[in-house]
């Protein structure tokens, strides 16, 4: 068994624990520990991606118990890619946070690391209850990141966010209880296998349980009508945190994809719910577009952009073709980076504009705007899906891959939302960067440390790399898609991975 597989979970945990113990030694030590952890994590994730790229499924049996008894981690192309995306994002977020926020928010570094642990755990686990546990890890860390150092409205939003997610977790537990009561196992591969042999009598009960579970995932991924929590929560979160949160909707989407293919892939329940997800995805896309138009603040606008990308991914995944999912995965990585970049940029803008903050209506100048404006332009072009950046390529791939039956609606939704995004971003950009300073306006420009601008540049740089290397990357994502669409092979791999020294069966 390859010990690297468990490291994306363990490294942040150990780092987090060490940060906690070194908190009294000051911020510099914390930063040092945190950076060591993140660098190691990045290296591990790259190594894992390389290992996964040849298509082997690595199964890691925790405690050396057979997968059905204990908990198994599963590394395939998809999870490797998600982990690497997270690590890359984490580097930029940490960079930004080290520009000063980590001083203001108590326990920032510890919470940050533990959040990474939760996210990676969710991506790697092959056990449905363990998925719940890691959901909780990442959620509770996100509550902390969201609330730490915040006040007033952020507290109300935080309460909203927490209560909503606690309820969603409760539903998850109900679903898990029903599922276990009917299937009697928690390993996803085992469940997938047993589902294909379930009696028609139990089938509807199982559908109910899995339906509940999908509702939970959709709530995390912010699908209509479960997205109301997102705009305010993301729009109010501290920049570095909001940027990191971008990956969290993707965790929900990942879960939809993983459970949808591995668990529901075969047998009686296949195809269940995809049509509904497609329809809701398109509707969400349009409503998110409306939200982008409606946003009064740049950060809210970016939050709606996150929603747009989540909805696009729902559409891509719900179409259930290798090409659409492949395109979706490419788009997933792209949208993660660009939305994160925009959140960071919005914060820079907000701090530069003094009292006007990032309100779009306010006439307020922005000093030293050249670089932010340029970065905003890049990010806006990319996020709106305009050529030639990664956003365009992702949408292009998705549109090309859309099957003929669904083409009219899917294209309409995609293009209309793009149009709304372009319109709104043009307005936002011109209002933010095309104002000139009236005399005597007391705009106090907060200095922006270079590391923070560097973080934005880094994130946009990822996007440019994704544009240049679009060929190989989309090859990889397509391979990942075809791998997850062939759950039988994966189930086989997981079930037959043998413990090192224990008996595989009694």
């Amino acid at each position: 068994m390859n010990p690297l597989v468990v490291l994306p979970i363990l490294l942040p945990l150990l780092t987090g624990a060490l940060v906690l113990m070194s908190e009294r030694r000051g911020i510099v030590v914390q930063r040092l520990v945190s950076w060591l952890g993140v660098s190691a994590l990045l290296a591990v994730c790259i190594a894992l991606l390389v290992q996964a790229s040849d298509g082997t499924v690595q199964v890691y049996l925790l405690g050396d118990w057979p997968a059905r008894l204990g908990i198994a981690l599963v590394l395939d192309r998809l999870s490797a890619m998600m982990a690497l995306t997270t690590a890359l994002l984490a580097v930029a977020c940490l960079l930004y946070a080290c520009g000063g926020w980590d001083r203001r928010a108590p326990h920032f570094h510890a919470l940050f690391q533990l959040q990474l642990m939760g996210i990676n755990g969710a991506f790697l686990t092959g056990d449905i209850f363990n998925l719940f546990v890691f959901f909780e890890v990442l959620l509770i860390a996100s509550y902390g990141l969201m609330g730490s150092g915040g006040r007033r409205a952020r507290m109300r939003i935080g309460l909203h966010y927490v209560a909503f997610n606690v309820m969603a977790s409760t539903l998850f537990l109900i679903a898990l209880g029903l599922l276990y009561g009917l299937i009697g196992t928690l390993n996803m591969a085992e469940i997938g296998l047993r589902l294909s042999e379930v009696s028609p009598q139990d089938a509807r009960l199982l559908q109910a349980a899995l339906g509940l579970m999908l509702v939970v995932f959709c709530a995390k991924a912010a699908l209509l009508p479960l997205y109301f929590w997102l705009p305010e929560a993301y729009g109010r979160a501290p920049a570095a945190v909001a940027a990191l949160f971008v990956i969290m909707t993707k965790v929900g989407l990942y879960a939809v994809l993983r459970v949808g293919t591995l668990v529901l892939g075969a047998g009686l329940l296949s195809g269940f719910a995809w049509q509904a997800l497609l329809f809701l995805g398109m509707l969400t896309l349009l409503l998110a577009g409306v939200g982008v138009l409606a946003a009064a603040r740049l950060r809210t606008l970016v939050a709606y952009l996150v929603l747009v990308s989540a909805a696009t991914l729902f559409v891509a995944f719900a179409l259930q073709r290798v090409d659409t999912i492949g395109a979706g995965l490419y788009y997933l990585a792209h949208s993660t980076f660009v939305a994160a970049a925009l959140f960071l940029l919005a914060d820079i803008v907000r701090r530069r504009r003094g009292r006007a903050q990032d309100w779009l209506q306010v006439v307020a100048p922005m000093p030293e705007k050249t670089l932010p404006a340029l970065l905003f332009l890049l990010a806006a072009v990319s996020v709106a899906g305009l050529p030639p950046l990664s956003g365009f390529l992702g949408k292009l791939m998705l549109m090309q891959a859309t099957p003929a039956v669904d083409t009219p609606w899917v294209w309409t939704a995609l293009l209309l939302s793009s149009f709304m995004v372009v319109t709104a971003l043009a307005r936002a950009g011109s209002r933010m960067f095309w104002r000139v300073a009236p005399e005597g306006d007391g705009a106090r420009a907060d200095p922006v440390p270079w590391v923070q601008t560097g973080a934005v540049v880094l994130l946009l740089g990822y996007g440019i790399v994704m544009t240049v290397l679009a060929g190989p990357i989309s090859n990889y994502t397509r391979a990942a898609a075809s791998q997850i669409l062939d759950p039988a092979a994966m189930i086989d791999d997981i079930r037959h991975s043998a413990p090192l020294h224990r008996e595989p069966s009694p």
């Binding site: 209850f129 007033r152 309460l159 909203h160 537990l173 276990y180 009561g181 009292r355």
Partner: protein, 139 residues
């Protein structure tokens, strides 16, 4: 036995959901707590209900499901209880901070409780400049 358990779960759920939909943060928390009882009982009963078959192995009794109840749901419920407790703690703290900062315990920050008639805090500044301690609750 199953019927009693199922109906109890149902009633806890109903009570929980009703409270969940109330407007005050503390009521919502009460609702979540009720729901968590319901959930725990539900997961627990996924292992089926038996009296006197605790999953603690005894000497001379074969370790099979004929003599012991399914231990796995119990382990799951334990995890769920602990997590629910952690969530309750965080929710409560969020609720009191929200109450303190926004002068309302309405979940949507509405100010229709006559107890606090102080002016609404300025919405814009939520990022916390300087030390939060000095500016903490001051509107």
């Amino acid at each position: 036995m199953e019927l009693a358990m199922a109906s109890a779960i149902g009633i806890l759920t109903a009570g929980g959901i009703y409270l969940l939909l109330r407007a005050r943060s503390f009521d919502v928390i009460l609702g979540l707590t009720l729901l968590s009882y319901a959930t725990n009982l539900l997961i627990f009963s996924a292992g089926r209900l038996f009296v006197g078959k605790a999953p603690v192995l005894r000497e001379g009794v074969a370790p099979t499901l004929d003599h012991y109840v399914d231990p796995l749901p119990q382990a799951l419920v334990l995890t769920a209880i602990v997590i629910a407790f952690a969530m309750t703690a965080v929710t409560l703290v969020m609720a009191i901070r929200s109450r303190g900062d926004n002068l309302s315990d309405h979940v949507d920050g509405r100010r229709n409780d006559p107890a606090s008639a102080a002016p609404q805090p300025v919405a814009a500044s939520d990022a916390g400049g300087g030390s939060a301690a000095s500016q903490g609750g001051d509107a």
